[in-house]
Structures are given as C-alpha cells and as structure tokens.
C-alpha cells in the first residue's frame, strides 16, 4: 500500500519561504498570486494491507517524526 503525507505550516505561523515564492511569482507577472504557503509532500511504501492499521501507524509516524506539531499540521492519504 502506498501512503501520501502532506505536512503544512499551521495557520498563523509565519512562512518566509512561502512569502519569497509569492514575491517571485508576482515579479514574474503572476499578479493574481496572493498568499503562498509552502509545505512538504512525503510518499511512503507500506508493507501493510489493512487500511485502518496503516492509518494508525501513519498517525504515529507523523507525530513522532514526519511533522513537528508545534508548528505543522499533517494529512494522510492512502492509495491502492
């Protein structure tokens, strides 16, 4: 089974990288771009067939390592 994990900064946490990306896009002529937030995308291959079990394990992985819950949120998606 494959899992997709998205890690994003919580609302209210300043994202200077996102801001820099936004400025660059504006400079390139993409004037419609407003606020930009940058995050991480992590793809994992799992040796697990039970979706509920996989989800629980992924929650644990996110809390222990993949995200820093002081500043980040995470979302988990299971594929296949």
């Amino acid at each position: 089974m494959k899992a997709r994990v998205h890690v994003t900064l919580k609302n209210g946490v300043l994202d200077p990288q996102g801001k820099a990306i936004g400025h660059s896009l504006n400079r390139l002529g993409f004037a419609e771009v407003g606020d930009v937030r940058q995050g991480k995308y992590i793809e994992l291959e799992l040796a697990e067939t039970d979706k509920a079990k996989a989800k629980a394990r992924l929650e644990d992985m996110c809390k222990k390592l993949l995200a820093n819950t002081v500043i980040e949120n995470y979302s988990i998606e299971l594929v296949g």
Partner: protein, 233 residues
C-alpha cells in the same frame, strides 16, 4: 565536572565545545556517538552544533530520535543538566526537552556574525557567572534560529522566567525605535536561549564555545562554562 559531548553524523562544533570545556576543567570531555544507547555517568551532557543527519526533514528531527537521545531524555528527567547549542538547541526542542521550535530565519539567509545578548537571569547553573541584565558578545552561525512557540507557551516561558538570553543592541536595548534591536533571525521576543522549567536544560542558538579565547575575538562565552564548573564540581 565530567562532561559528555554527543556526536552525530554531521556535527561540526563538537571539537570547539570540547576545547572550551577542557580549557575551564582541565579535562577532556567524553565524546559519545549517536548510536550509543548508554554511556558512563556524567555531570553534564552537551549537544553540539552542526548539521546532524544533514538537517534532513527538519533541523534536529532525526537526531532527536537517535538511541543516544533516548538515554539523554531519561537522564534529563533525573535532572542531569543538558546544554544544547545551535543545532543542539534544535535537537533538544525536537526531543521535547525544551518547548517551542527553531524556524527558518525570517530573512531566509544564513547568518554568521557576532551578536549581543542580554543575560536574563544569573539564577541558573549555566548563568551564575553573569549578572542579570549583563550584555555579552558571542557569535551566531545558523539559518534556522528563529525561535517560535505558540502564544500560551510564550506567556508561560515569560511568566516563569525561562528565557535565558535575548538578542539586544550593544547597549542592551531590546525594543528600539526601529523595532526589535539586534535580532539576527526574527526570533519571537528576541529570544536567543531558553531553559526548561527546572532550569536544568538550556538551549541557545549562539556559540559561547567560540568566545572563550581572546585570539578569537572575545571571551564573553567563557562565563557559561566557568559557571557550570562551579555549579557541577
């Protein structure tokens, strides 16, 4: 004072801090590899600066989960003092020994410069050689030193006196006409270093170990090591 200095793949200030400790204690600290889940009893554990595990994922995130840090967390819970410097500060926050986290500098640049710090309290085993309010000059070298904690945590830190050092102007000003004075990275409330609740764990971004010899631009960092020797010997 018997000290241990942890070494991770990618650490690069472990030699500097070992040298500073040797200078004030006359004995070389024990160097402990990240894979060692156990090491001899010591009076102080130092988590040095560098780029542990290449700073992959988040600075300090992988190192915080290493076997040696499991043991450090156990000992910290028994009040063995822990000092985290720079990447070491990032590691101890990721390990949950200190609140908050270190984010990317607000200007997105790596900063390598001498900074001025205001010592917030002399009432700790780390800062007893300084006066409260004293201004010291030490270098910083980091890209992720922007201290952040949520508003509730920040209030608790301030109320309990857990701020160890703040960035300031050479004269000791923190709030100036141009906003925050001397803040090299955007840290909330100019925070450069914090204690845990019992003041047995200190994490700071600046490098006191690189300000212990006159030849290298100053000795203002030496007081930190001398203070620890006095408290722990």
């Amino acid at each position: 004072m018997k000290a241990a200095v942890l070494v991770f793949p990618g650490s690069n200030r472990e030699g500097d801090v070992a040298q500073a400790i040797e200078l004030v204690t006359g004995r070389r600290p024990l160097m402990v590899w990240h894979g060692d889940g156990d090491f001899p009893k010591v009076d102080l554990i130092v988590v040095p600066g560098g780029f542990s595990y290449g700073d992959y994922l988040r600075c300090g995130a992988m190192a915080a989960q290493s076997p040696v840090m499991t043991e450090v967390k156990r000992r910290a819970s028994q009040s063995v003092p822990v000092l985290g410097i720079c990447n070491g500060f990032q590691i101890v926050t990721e390990a949950g020994l200190l609140p908050g986290t270190l984010m990317r500098n607000s200007h997105l640049k790596f900063v390598c410069a001498d900074v001025h710090l205001k010592v917030e309290t002399s009432q700790s085993l780390f800062t007893n050689r300084y006066r409260a309010g004293q201004v010291i000059k030490v270098p910083v070298a980091h890209a992720e030193g922007n201290y952040f904690a949520d508003a509730d945590t920040m209030k608790l830190l301030e109320d309990r006196g857990q701020i160890a050092f703040r960035y300031c102007s050479p004269e000791g000003a923190i709030d100036g006409a141009r906003g925050k004075e001397g803040n090299p990275n955007g840290s909330t409330n100019n925070i450069a270093g914090v204690f845990n609740e019992t003041k047995t764990v200190l994490g700071l971004m600046p490098h006191p170990e690189n300000a212990v010899e006159p030849m290298f631009g100053g000795t203002d960092g030496k007081g930190l090591f001398e203070g620890m020797v006095e408290a722990l010997s």
